[in-house]
């Protein structure tokens, strides 16, 4: 790997060498009769409090899953520490997403789901963005390469900018999509524009005819194209009608 994100020596769980796997009593079992609130706290939450102090705002246990609320400014450090520390080793990023509540007074939450494969632990890290604040969160792409598309999707759906992501573009919607961010609560389920306008824009987008400037630079083809083709490709206009 070019810039190795796993700085400390890292051994993946190889069959037969996982911690606690040799001992049948230590093997995980299906969770049963999980309480709504309370229950066993993930030991990593206590370790986080010790390491980060006031940056860890709250620890919740809901349905047996530990949620740690952290300051947005320290979120990257927290995740980096969880990844690097030898007693934590949260080496697997399950998911990055955001939650906006129907109650518009509630802050928007950015959620990271992390797994520690060697210790078989699961933790949810949350950072909140108060209303009126910039929709920004630190990117964890430099820690987990798997965050690439997860963050791009979150940006695409919520308009949440991940600072530090190398290539934050729309992923599921096309690049010229103008209606906004579909998973925001102020976005109506049927879209902002009328059906006919949506159809017109979707047909006009013609994403297959559109190559980004970056892609065209691959072949040095862009400069060789006729002027009108350059203009059409640049705007993503539908060709051949």
């Amino acid at each position: 790997m070019s810039n190795d994100p796993g700085k400390p020596t890292f051994t993946p769980v190889i069959a037969g060498s996982a911690i606690a796997s040799g001992d049948p009593a230590g093997l995980p079992v299906t969770r049963k009769n999980v309480a709504h609130r309370g229950g066993d706290v993930n030991p990593s939450a206590g370790a986080l409090k010790e390491a980060f102090g006031a940056a860890v705002r709250r620890v919740d246990v809901v349905w047996g899953e530990t949620t740690v609320y952290v300051d947005m400014a320290r979120a990257h450090d927290v995740i980096q520490w969880l990844h690097d520390d030898a007693s934590q080793r949260y080496d697997y990023l399950s998911d990055v997403t955001a939650v906006e509540f129907r109650d518009l007074e509630q802050p928007i939450e950015v959620v990271w789901h992390l797994r520690s494969l060697p210790y078989r632990r699961f933790i949810r890290i949350k950072a909140q963005i108060e209303r009126g604040q910039k929709l920004e969160a630190p990117s964890v792409w430099d820690i987990y390469r798997g965050a690439d598309w997860l963050e791009r999707e979150c940006y695409d759906m919520f308009g949440l900018r991940f600072v530090g992501h190398p290539d934050l573009r729309r992923l599921l919607m096309w690049e010229q999509y103008k209606e906004g961010y579909p998973l925001r609560k102020d976005f109506p389920a049927r879209g902002r524009f009328s059906r006919s306008e949506q159809l017109r824009q979707a047909l006009a987008a013609n994403p297959e005819a559109r190559y980004s400037k970056e892609e065209l630079s691959i072949a040095d083809a862009f400069e060789d194209l006729p002027d009108d083709m350059k203009r059409r490709l640049g705007t993503g206009e539908r060709v051949g009608e």
């Binding site: 299906t30 598309w149 579909p182």
Partner: protein, 437 residues
């Protein structure tokens, strides 16, 4: 790029056995009298290519991209320098629509994301919703759900096997695989009524119990299926062409595989024994006896071996479910979440009220959130649900395994040949319905 050296003993063009019963090895070309022909390649003039890179666009309408995936490739000659994937052609906004539906009404959407694993998705969603409602399902329901999960794992792997064989140029295993897949679909049809989009679980139970005599059909399947797996094993595992087209391609080291968030057969092929069924168990999977196959090289060939072994392990789990299936009710006895039987709803006042309340308003989970992950055939499939106490979720997030697996394709194809892109892409086992949602 990691270099891999591995030796796979292959059988070359075995057309039959000789008088002693040993396999006959016949060279690829002989003349009428049986002499080996040496084929000289015709002289070709190398075209002037210089160092200019070329842009190639694969998809979105291309059979080898398994759906509407578009890959823009930068080529140096035939070698891939860079790959830029484009997705989203099948985006339907399932997560948005889920915010306007009651929990039971979301289950049909889960069929349509990873449509090769519909029952498995139904089970995953129901498990998540039950966690959110705080429901403990019955023992019989648990075993029936394990049955559904493993049957759909077999289907999904068979489709993967068949289509990948076609991508790489083998046609026969495709027919064998689809024949067996049809047998499972017949079992689904007899139990569920539907084949592809099953919508079979409910929050707190299942749509129906298995019909009388259905287990005999499943027993027959588990009896016959391993023979077919062995046969497919015999025809391709040591086949020279198959080995030549899969070994050493798309190698991911264990550290990389974990860092890129790969899951399922993809991460296990790299040597990381991460299986949600084992490490974060659900549905009492820890009480079943099965092995988690782990690869050594992390190439396309290893991913194939892992999936072949998982077919056998799933059959083993199915055999155990048949043996242990307990009697008892399938649905929990709580008519605030599970619909009362139709006959009672039309004759009994209280049942009618429950029926009305559930259909018109929907059951309300307490305020809370949960992330429930299962081992789908593609990897870790997670549903993250947030409830604000209303009958509809505030947020319903799908963690699609093949989405994360596919995001590593630029890393996997760089440095390989254009024709290998097809094999590597096939090895990821993508379903675009799940990736775009």
């Amino acid at each position: 790029m990691a270099t891999t050296k591995r030796t796979v003993e292959v059988e070359l063009s075995t057309t039959g056995v000789d008088a002693q019963g040993r396999p006959q090895r016949v060279p690829l070309a002989v003349d009428e009298s049986g002499n080996v022909l040496t084929l000289a390649a015709p002289a070709q003039i190398e075209p002037e290519l210089e160092g200019e890179h070329m842009l190639i666009n694969i998809g979105p309408q291309h059979p080898a991209t398994h759906g509407v995936l578009r890959l823009v490739l930068e080529l140096d000659g035939e070698t891939v320098v860079r790959c830029i994937p484009h997705i989203g052609y099948l985006h339907c906004g399932f997560e948005k629509m889920g915010e306007y539906r009651q929990y039971n009404q979301i289950i049909p959407y889960t069929d349509r994301e990873d449509y090769l694993n519909s029952p498995g998705n139904n089970v995953a969603f129901a498990l998540g919703a039950e966690m959110l409602f705080g429901i403990e399902i019955t023992e019989r329901c648990k075993v029936l759900r394990v049955m559904l999960c493993e049957m759909s794992r077999i289907i999904s792997h068979l489709v993967w096997l068949g289509t990948t064989c076609i991508d790489i140029g083998a046609y026969t295993p495709f027919l064998w695989a689809f024949q067996q897949r049809e047998k499972i679909y017949e079992l689904f049809e007899a139990w569920i009524g539907a084949r592809l989009t099953t919508t079979f679980t409910r929050v707190g139970g299942m749509g129906a119990d298995i019909p009388d005599g259905w287990l005999e059909g499943l027993t027959a399947f588990t009896h016959n299926f391993p023979k077919v797996v062995d046969e497919i094993d015999r025809i391709i595992t040591r086949n020279g062409i198959w080995v030549g087209r899969t070994v050493g391609l798309g190698v991911m080291s264990p550290e990389e595989a974990v860092n890129y968030g790969l899951s399922g057969p993809m991460v296990r092929a790299s040597g990381v024994a991460f299986d949600v069924r084992r490490d974060f168990p659900y549905l009492d999977y820890e009480t079943y006896d099965f092995d988690v196959p782990v690869g050594t090289n992390g190439d396309v060939y290893d991913r194939f071996l892992i999936r072949m072994e998982e077919l056998r392990q799933s059959t083993r789990i199915l055999e155990q479910t048949i043996k242990r299936l307990p009697d008892g009710p399938v649905n929990v006895n709580d008519h605030r979440v599970v619909l009362p039987p139709k006959s009672k709803a039309t004759s009994d006042m209280e049942s009618m009220i429950h029926h009305f309340k559930q259909v018109m308003e929907g059951p309300r989970p307490p305020i809370g959130e949960c992330y429930v992950a299962v081992e789908s055939p593609k990897g870790e499939k997670g549903y993250y649900m947030v409830s604000d106490g209303s009958p509809k979720p505030v947020r319903w997030r799908i963690r699609p395994p093949s989405f994360v697996n596919l995001s590593a394709i630029p890393r996997m194809v760089e440095g390989h040949l254009l024709s290998d892109v097809i094999a590597i892409n096939a090895s990821i086992d993508i379903v675009m319905g799940e990736i775009d949602r």
